[in-house]
Symmetry: C2
Subunit: 263 residues, 2 copies
């Protein structure tokens, strides 16, 4: 796997990305030797790549003792995305509405490389650490409302492939780990139009999510609502479900309109 015999490779680029990911995952500033030891890149080559990344602002060693950390360039590049993934800007408006009405945490997610990614988030009243950070990814489609929506809308083949990739691991004791039950759940999701998750990803947290479609009718993301079990009772499920459906529906409608105008 690491040794790719194919010459369409750009090894220096892969190494650079390995370095960036290593530093990012270590969640703190790291020293040169830590990188050498962890990454199996020769010293000399490593230095060259580190210098290049620092020169361009992708890494930064102006902090403590010249240790390396992720550069602020990523802040810029990360925040430049909203403009390009167009539906983010449109969805934002309706997410805000939802947030004001419910005071719950509202999230916009999408599927990227077979993983769920959190694109945007408006934090709710409840000050607790149920929030993931924007940009974080979750591979467990079977354990999240958003994931269930995605599964319910993909064709049989893709669904099997995506699930086959990681299986149905139990994230909490409530996670669905049985194929039959998941199939039922997916059918239920198709019927309702929105996805629901009851502490299956994190104990004490419930979520609902509804799909956003672009002008071509392609499913591009989900608007979701999260809350603790204390403030999101099971009797409120349909109320919140309808609310996310409404917000997602409005977003899809606006996306259709926009593309008509631009014809």
């Amino acid at each position: 796997m690491p040794l790719n015999n194919n010459q369409n490779n750009a090894p220096a680029v892969h190494r650079a990305i390995d370095i960036i990911e290593f530093i990012s995952s270590s969640q703190r500033e790291v020293s040169f030797s830590e990188i050498v030891e962890s990454l199996d890149i020769p010293r000399q080559s490593l230095i060259r790549i580190l210098n290049a990344l620092c020169d361009r602002g992708f890494l930064d060693k102006s902090g403590q003792r010249g240790l390396y950390r992720i550069g602020l360039k990523f802040l810029y590049l990360g925040h430049g995305l909203p403009d390009k993934y167009e539906f983010r800007t449109v969805a934002w408006k309706y997410m805000k509405e939802l947030s004001q009405k419910t005071l719950k945490t509202i999230e916009l997610s999408s599927l990227d490389r077979d993983q769920l990614i959190l694109l945007e988030q408006i934090r709710g009243q409840e000050e607790m650490s149920l929030y993931s950070r924007v940009g974080s990814v979750i591979p467990y489609l079977h354990a999240v409302s958003v994931g269930k929506v995605y599964l319910s809308l993909m064709d049989e083949d893709k669904r099997r492939r995506v699930i086959g990739k990681i299986g149905l691991p139990a994230v909490t004791k409530y996670t669905i780990t049985d194929t039959k039950r998941l199939e039922d759940e997916i059918r239920e999701t198709q019927k309702r139009g929105y996805g629901f998750e009851d502490q299956e990803l994190r104990e004490g947290v419930r979520r609902v999510a509804a799909p956003v479609f672009n002008a071509d009718g392609k499913h591009v993301g989900c608007i979701g609502l999260s809350a603790t079990v204390f403030s999101f009772g099971l009797d409120e499920l349909d109320r919140y479900g309808q609310m996310v459906l409404d917000a997602a529906g409005k977003t899809s409608a606006e996306l259709r309109q926009i593309s008509q105008h631009s014809l």
Copy 2:
């Protein structure tokens, strides 16, 4: 400049970054040929690098017609930063306080590679496009409250170097373009402790900003407040100035405390 004779270079990495910056700056999805024409990288080499960047999620071509755009990986890496640039999390608390008290736009900025960078932002009541996006950089230290604070706290040498780099261009008709006047302004900033800018970067917008210091006494950033001229009268200058000074002061104090505990 582009041809570096030195062998500590990692050209493939520089090329990869050129590509990423080109795509990011074009503010839309770009085709292969656009990149070839703009960047002077041979086709074959370009493809190799593009493939590497796509494989790793730094670029994405799943959008329209297989055009290239910035990948969602940057979202993740960008949002991972707050944890590492420690003062962001501490400042956030006091920024929120300020935001609730004033309903104005509150911003946290820093200096990175001689440019001001917007690290964090809480949008105010006024729904208008005075907001820059998080991660955006401004080289005009002389035209922004935050920049004036930075200038007022750096030693003579660095100040001259930073200003020498871009001079004193007029961004609006109110921008200070005269060295003498800037020096006066810097002295005034030193006296007051906070920086002020009156439509010098954007017409109709006023800003104040105060410095945050880390436990070692190093100036690491500024907490600022922005508003339109309609909601930020000149008679309110000192009131808002004192408020940002207060928020920044509390942040610095907490940074000192944290480092004491960890001894």
